[in-house]
Amino acid sequence: MLAAIVAFACGAIMLVAVGASPIDGFRELVSGAFGGGDQLAQTANRATPLLLVGAGIAVAFRASVVNIGGEGQIIAGALLAAATAQAVPDLPSILLIPVVLVAGIVGGGIWGAIPGALKAYASVNEILSTIMMNLVAIQVMNYLLRGPMIDPFEVENGTRIPQTERLSENAHLPILVDGTRLHLGVLIAVIAAIAAYVILWRTPLGFRLRAVGHSPEAARAAGIPVKRSVVSALAISGALAGLAGAILVFGSEAHRMGTDGSSAGFTGSAGFNGIVAALFGALHPLWTIPSSFLFGGLLTGATQLQRALQVPSALAIALNGIVVVFVVSSERVRDRINSVMNARREFDETPSATPDSAHPADDTDGAAPLEAGGASP
């Protein structure tokens, strides 16, 4: 809470710094985000990728894996989903929608599994490798959207805007509430977050992931395949981000995928903002739901701010950075993260298998007040 207040204050300072009145600024921000049905629908739509990425980050984190590769995984999922829709545009909606969503899951899953395997089998720091996978994904996207996947019309016309054609109508995500832009993707994201929670706390796979997150040593002693669990954690995390990518394409008004050369141009930095949402949701998939809605609101509010007061919406990204810093500085989240990080160090050190070099992780799981259903299986 303190983190939110301080971040609020920083937001005010930034508004003053760019020459806008903070009171007007916050009024536009709040009314732009939550001021009516349209705004709420828009906020929910913007929250969707944050929730999926955030839930994925929460899953990875429980296995003591840090996934900074949301951007790349969103792009990979979106590319595979868009390519699938280009390949089989004539499938009926009832088939095509699930098919493109699964394509997104697969694309993002693969993009997550690669750094997972690199960490598990080659001891490559996944924070660095996921960031590098982001940079690779951006170039793959630029290449595909400027070349093989480009709208044939753009080539004919000579305009060559790097984007696909308007993708098959049959793949469009249906609108949930008439007259708004609220689409099925929102519902899918909420279900996916609940599923992430169920997987983590109600299935053997989730038990393995959390065991590895607590103490790789103990997990290995108990016969849990630690390396494979690390790969699964990043693959699941990436799959959720990839699903977000598919939803970004088929839930958008344009119903196409385009690039401005950067990752943010397509993802709206959801891969990074999802980290913020997950941290603010105390790295719990269910708490990430309201937290994503809040940050979705910040994003739509920032768009309104840009429209009304000409304050660039990059403000939201800067504000998110501050929120991250304050949230990780706050005691509760710090304890949670530190216990996981100690387990990480244990994982890194296990090849040498010296018991005294390991730092036993404290079990802070049950002690965290924000834990909604953190019961052991």
Partner: protein, 308 residues
């Protein structure tokens, strides 16, 4: 391909490799000092962006390059103090708070740029300094002795940082704190003060890296660094935490980037594949991390918080 292997093209490529290596070298040397004391700073890219914008804006308004350099350095120091307070005094987890700093830098530099400048306007660049006599040596002179002051300083810092780390009391303290903070503390070395110092120096270097980047290009745009700060972090692993190794890595990256640029100019890479060629640094980093992982010994207390 044959047109690439002519003396003049190769000399130009190597000269531009050295130029492109400069920001990497500054940022990675700073990061290495921090990591030697057990602090991982993932905010480098954000600090580079903030300093790059600060320098750009100052030069745009005052047309005084040295004023721009000073502003870039000042921003680095300020960000260093912030990061030190957050990670050392508030004990925040280093990896994630660094990502927070990165996001802040990415967003805030873009915000200020759009608000204050809008469309990219070119500024004057740092002048090339030709070293008397040496710059007249055929080929070698053009490759090594016609660079900006920033480039000379970056490479001079390699022996300076090595000496500082290995031969001074301060360097000994840094390494002690990075290997075994408890032992260092029991011998009367202040872990917090040492880490404050290394973090501030590291961020100062990151700031200079951003400044040298923007004053080398003469233009600013959103996300100017495009991940260079993260690659600099990887370079520290590549160089096994030793300045000379880091210099080798920075030169390798400079060479890869310069070669890709040169090949684009010479049409060796078709335009359609230029996006794929732009992946080279990131792919190289992943390969390097795979090769380096487990082969070298990281500071034992890296990313470990210390609380008396």
């Amino acid at each position: 391909m044959s047109e690439f292997f002519t003396a003049s093209v190769l000399v130009a490529t190597i000269a531009s490799a050295i130029r492109l290596a400069t920001p990497y070298l500054f940022a990675a040397l700073g990061e290495a000092i921090g990591q030697r004391s057990g602090v991982l700073n993932l905010g480098v890219d954000g600090v580079m962006l903030l300093s790059a914008f600060g320098s750009y804006y100052t030069v745009l308004k005052t047309d005084n390059l040295w004023f721009g350099v000073a502003v870039g350095m000042g921003i680095g120091v300020v960000m260093g103090v912030i990061y030190a307070v957050v990670t050392v005094s508030f004990h925040a987890q280093q990896g994630i708070s660094g990502i927070g700093i990165f996001l802040f830098g990415l967003g805030f530099s873009d915000l200020l740029f759009q608000e204050q400048v809008g469309t990219p306007k070119p500024i004057s660049k740092l002048p090339k300094i030709e070293i008397p006599l040496l710059s007249d040596i055929p080929h070698i002179g053009e490759m090594l002795f016609r660079h900006t002051l920033m480039t000379y300083i970056a490479f001079l810092l390699v022996p300076v940082v090595t000496y500082m780390l290995m031969r001074t009391t301060f360097g000994l303290n840094i390494r002690a704190v990075g290997e075994n903070p408890e032992a260092a503390d029991s011998l009367g070395v202040s872990v917090a003060r040492t880490r404050y110092a290394t973090i501030i120096i590291g961020n100062l270097f990151a700031g200079i890296a951003g400044t040298s980047l923007v004053l080398g290009l003469g233009i600013f745009q959103n996300n100017l660094t495009n991940g260079q700060g993260f690659i600099a972090v990887a370079l520290v692993y590549f160089g096994a935490w030793r300045p000379v190794g880091i210099m080798g890595g920075a030169l390798l990256y400079g060479l890869v980037s310069a070669t890709v640029l040169q090949w684009k100019v010479l049409d060796i890479i078709p335009t359609s594949a230029s996006d794929l060629a732009a992946m080279a640094p990131a792919l190289l980093t992943i390969i390097v991390l795979v090769v380096v992982a487990n082969r070298v010994h990281a500071p034992a207390a890296l990313t470990r918080d210390f609380d008396r």
